[in-house]
Symmetry: C2
Subunit: 432 residues, 2 copies
């Protein structure tokens, strides 16, 4: 089928575009490269040296003979978005084209406003463009498990049956999002639900958990196809960050007690979930919600798993419990349903030692690109303005010769540093 991937140059978007292309779908990427710009703004970069999108797409075509179309522009630009949809006429649109980092949205007022306006208006534009030009097209929208917060009852998939004063109804599950970013996704969900109702559009909201990993079969084909691997405090997801910290021998930054429990999934499951949603269209007027994760872990669970996996690699991994920069429960009940995608055919890649090994080996391979200072939390939820002064001094030098100066707890890896070639072999993990 014809699938447009909005935000196809990003972390999940790139892996998704390649996966769907490899599965024989006709793909168009729509992107404005603002994600790359944010790296400059926050002073971070992906651990892995990603190539310009044009290079990536050329390599993909050389390797597979498959051409991915590219539309360069912003979903905030309605003329661009509508002309793109009219030209490509997709059967499905996968919408990753949002600002997706909670800490980025919490930097200050401008970042909060930017995140909400960018995400909400982009999605509103998409709803209107679909209504006007391709009304039968199925929207697959990336939401987040963070929309639900941490209620003291089981989390259902989008809706909950409530009995109250002798009557009953199925209502949208109450939302308690924990950042201006997560709020933007809640706003989106409400807007999409409404436009399904009034215009009879089709939509699937994928409330995704925290994604880890970077490799998929397609990305592993060639280094020019390498995916992002964000480990910084703003865009890095927790497990990826822990693996980098373990690999370079600095303590894992656990926020507070680490009892924060969330849903997680491997990026290989992200791409498969998207395909499942595409192949199983929502009905006309249906606003369908799937919880897209495969396992629940607390942050401390993950830290201990990384510690154990590191030990097997000869790494001594320590934990550093920092004051939680977020306003969130550090211990709480958490039990979220996630059966709908399984019922439609998802076979999860559960978190394994081999995946943790793979992530740590990627981190070892690119350790010269690591900036250890980027992993300490600097965005504090309790402040309305967070410092944006980047100081390229000693404390932000790449981790290497000065590591001992930066971090008293130096890497205690047994044996010599392995060759890049050796590390490279370990990057492409076995296809389970």
């Amino acid at each position: 089928m014809k699938i447009a991937v909005l935000g196809g140059d990003g972390y999940c978007g790139w892996a998704t575009a390649l996966y769907l292309s490899n599965r024989g779908h006709s793909i168009a990427i729509v992107d404005n490269f603002i994600r790359r710009q944010w790296d400059h703004e926050v002073g971070a970069q992906t651990l892995t040296p990603i190539r310009p999108l044009a290079d990536r797409l050329r390599t993909w075509q050389q390797l597979t003979g498959k051409q991915i179309e590219l539309f360069v522009g912003d979903v905030m630009d309605y003329d661009f978005l509508s002309s793109t949809l009219r030209e490509f006429e997709p059967d499905a649109v996968v919408h990753f084209a949002e600002q997706r980092a909670a800490p980025y949205s919490m930097i200050d007022r401008k970042h909060a406003v930017f995140t909400q306006v960018n995400n909400v208006v982009g999605t509103l534009n998409l709803r209107f463009a679909l209504r006007e030009f391709v009304p039968d097209c199925h929207l697959i929208k990336l939401g987040t498990m963070g929309e639900y917060g941490t209620p003291n009852i089981d989390i259902e998939e989008g809706y909950i049956t409530i009995e109250h004063n002798g009557r009953k109804d199925v209502l949208p599950y109450p939302k308690q999002p924990g950042s201006f970013y997560h709020l933007s996704k809640v706003h989106d969900s409400h807007n999409i639900m409404f436009t399904c109702k009034i215009w009879g559009l089709r939509a699937t909201d994928l409330n995704q958990g925290v994604v880890y990993g970077t490799m998929t079969d397609e990305v592993a084909m060639d280094e020019a196809l390498i995916n992002r691997f964000d480990y910084d405090e703003i865009f890095g997801t927790v497990l990826n960050r822990f693996c980098v910290q373990a690999a370079i021998g600095i303590p894992l930054t656990v926020y507070g007690k680490g009892g924060q429990t969330r849903g997680f999934l491997d990026i290989r499951d992200t791409v498969r979930c998207i395909e499942i949603a595409c192949l199983n269209r929502a009905n006309k007027g249906e606003f369908r919600v799937f919880n897209q994760f495969t396992e629940q872990f607390s942050v401390l669970d993950l830290a201990h798993m990384v510690q154990a996996a590191g030990k097997k690699l000869g790494l001594q991994v320590e934990l550093n419990h920092l004051p939680d920069p977020r306003v969130e429960a550090e211990e709480h009940y958490y039990n979220a349903r996630h059966s709908k995608l399984i019922e439609l055919g998802l076979s999860p890649h559960l978190l394994s030692d081999s995946l943790l090994d793979s992530l740590m080996n990627i981190a070892m391979r690119y350790r010269d690109r690591v900036d250890a200072s980027m992993m300490m939390p600097k965005v504090n939820w309790r402040q309305a303005r967070n410092d944006r002064h980047l100081q390229p001094t000693l404390s932000t030098q790449p981790v290497g010769a000065d590591l001992e100066v930066l971090q008293p707890r130096s890497p205690k890896r047994n044996g010599d540093r392995r060759s890049a070639a050796q590390s490279k072999r370990e990057v492409a993990y076995s296809k389970s």
Copy 2:
């Protein structure tokens, strides 16, 4: 106390500012007059000839000796908003400064985007400005009963206790808003709840029903203080519109079956509810929700009440069931709790024949200003673009000599048209 009324030149805002001033509070109005601009845009005007705000404030000072301060600017402008709050240092901020018409938000994409960005960013700005400059100030935010939609269970005030799979929690009441405008209020509610939590701010969300009436004790003091009276299909609320239709002898425009049931309140209760919220501050970090209405009616109930009241005035009032331009249930369960404001001291002005008489008399008095064509619904929820072509032809002439041409059902009022003086006496209804 010192109270800033954002949107104090509007329908509810003006009545509130005068009421609070009269009760001895120190008031500042913050407004950018965009509400007056929207009248030009949609081709409507208030039935009542409202004066420029400067005239209104001068008259108020001459009559009462009380000065209301004025800050002219847009809450979207953070520099303006924050300098205003720093200068005035309010104890409470009453936030009416939003685009508040569902049909306006449904005109097309630009109006949907404008409504959501204007409302959401204005409120975000306010939250940040309060956090930065007057963190102890209490926000009183106008929400809407329309945030809840029409669930098949009782509507509670903001939160609902849910028992599910053997566990229990108190969660935000699920929201099913019915327009891009109502959605913007849901977005606001989520944003405000979050900022109470992370910053310990105080907030009360007043989920207001449909307001009717135009007179308050203060507004009635002098014609220069007269309040808005919107009867057009965009900004007019249903009961006000029905009274104008009855008064000028055109059929009441009932959408569909008219079984749509909503909460309603007299504008005299609006202003009192605001004062009650001001005098009873939310706690630090508390996000408090009150349902602000006094009675439930279906649209058809109201039509029949206007019909009956008209009969007593010698008016023959007919009903015109039009296809519903909105996407909403025309018959449904509706039972919404509204006890918290009563418990804090509200004594409701329930809908009475004398109020209906008063509204119809105001309409009679200003009948030369009525444009009957403005009352027919033209904004269709099912379309992504609604026609904005205003045609100042026969069909939009003021209702008067040409009424019979426009509307076959001409006014069949017994007796002659009464004098303006006579009508004027009836405008100031008895203070119940």
